[in-house]
Amino acid sequence: MEIARKAQAGTMQSSDLMVFLEPADDLRIEIDSTVKKQFEHLIKGQVEKVLAELSVTAGYIKISDRGALDYAIAARLETAIRRASSQEGA
């Protein structure tokens, strides 16, 4: 899927995250997290996994995390990507 426009998903509640997407020529992932020191590598791993599954190769991906679990990260990111893609119905 392609990030064709700006989109976002999620909330700033504890144990949740917000995902912000913008179109870009290359792939850039930026992670902010209250548990960045401990878990940044795991959050990044999960983000990259979802991007690979949905074959997203370019875009500016901004994550603002408040200690979300893996499946929350996957769900929020997928929602945001579907909203950002040119297809309707996310």
């Binding site: 700033m12 917000m18 930026e30 603002s64 408040r66």
Partner: protein
């Protein structure tokens, strides 16, 4: 659930909640949100362009998820308006609550904290990485509404005292001349000075207009605190990045706000090893040149006088078709700055 407070009745409830917490209610906002429980308003928050303010949660509902819910709505409303950088001013004891929401503290002042969401400041500075020159550099922060011979003289004098002079043009558009015009005329009017770089302050010059003072006490000098925060931001983050050791300012004999600003500048910037240098203004007739005088002359379409007050680059613009519309606005405009 967070809802928009649109009608007068709900907004009055928000005012009651805010005032019962000892804060001031400010009429100026783009969006006001609230949370109701059993018909009672228990929390409220507002956004004024890129500033989050009047965030109040009833004592009985503190410590839960309400702050997160309110902030989510505020962030979403920014995204819909294409606002990239947003800020919150808060009391120092609330700073940590916002840091837990991924806000980054920019300034910690004894009376308040300024935080931003994301890393806008770092990105702003990174964008100028190539323009950073080694050496003993200087800075001026100008509005240039519009660019005058006075600005030109100040910049020439300042540039002669440093290796590189950074001229920051205030981005915020609360002036008659829009930022694009002010920026362009500043570039054109300084093009002949080799060691001058003209930059944009982006959101990192705090203006009186955007500064919310609702959580300050009545006897706090709101204007002074705003200046101190603005200068802290400059001294702590901007000056070290550009190797700025001197900040120049024109002497201002008749505007009280500007005079206090320069006094405060000496005090605050000294803490960051930045020297404040006052330069005398250049005069035409028996008065110093000021943008205010230019605007007055422009109202009267006194082009002879204008020729004395502004450089040719600015004068060309003032005579252009694009300027006609601004001139029309100016004639119906009464503010000092």
């Amino acid at each position: 659930m967070v809802v928009r407070l649109i009608n007068k009745f709900d907004q009055r409830k928000a005012r009651e909640l805010i005032e019962s917490n000892g804060f001031k209610y400010e009429e100026k906002f783009d969006a006001l949100f609230g949370v109701f429980e059993n018909g009672e308003l228990v929390a409220t928050a507002a956004r004024d362009y890129n500033i989050f303010k009047m965030i109040c949660i009833r004592d009985s509902h503190q410590g839960g998820g309400l702050l997160g819910e309110l902030i989510t709505e505020l962030i979403n409303s920014c995204a819909y308006s294409n606002i990239e950088n947003f800020f919150v001013f808060t009391k120092p004891d609330r700073c940590l609550s916002f840091q837990h929401l991924n806000f980054t503290p920019l300034v910690k002042h004894p009376k308040l904290c300024l935080l931003e969401y994301g890393h806008g400041l770092q990105k702003y500075l990174d964008g100028y990485q190539e323009l950073v020159k080694p050496g003993r550099n200087g800075a001026v922060v100008v509005n240039c509404n519009p660019f005058t011979r006075g600005h030109q003289y100040l910049i020439e004098q300042a540039a002669a005292q440093v290796d590189q002079l950074y001229v920051f043009v205030v981005r915020e558009d609360r002036s008659i001349f829009p930022f694009e015009v002010r920026y362009r005329l500043t570039r054109e009017g300084t093009a002949h000075i080799p060691n001058v770089t003209v930059l944009d302050t982006s959101d990192y010059a705090i203006s009186q207009v955007t500064f919310p003072g609702y959580f300050l006490k009545r006897d706090d000098d709101q204007q002074l605190i705003q200046m101190e925060v603005d200068l802290e931001l400059f001294g702590r983050h901007i000056a070290p990045f550009f190797n700025i050791e001197k900040r120049f300012i024109g002497t201002e004999p008749y505007c009280r706000t500007t005079r206090i600003y320069s006094e405060t500048m000496h005090k605050v910037l000294a803490l960051y090893n930045v020297e404040t240098v006052q330069l005398d203004r250049v005069a035409r007739g028996d008065q110093p040149i000021s943008a205010f005088r230019v605007r007055e002359a422009l109202k009267g379409e006194a082009f002879e006088t204008l020729n004395e007050l502004v450089p040719a680059t600015t004068l060309n613009f003032l005579r252009s078709v694009q300027a006609r519309e601004l001139l029309h606005t100016l004639k119906n405009y009464q503010r000092r700055h």
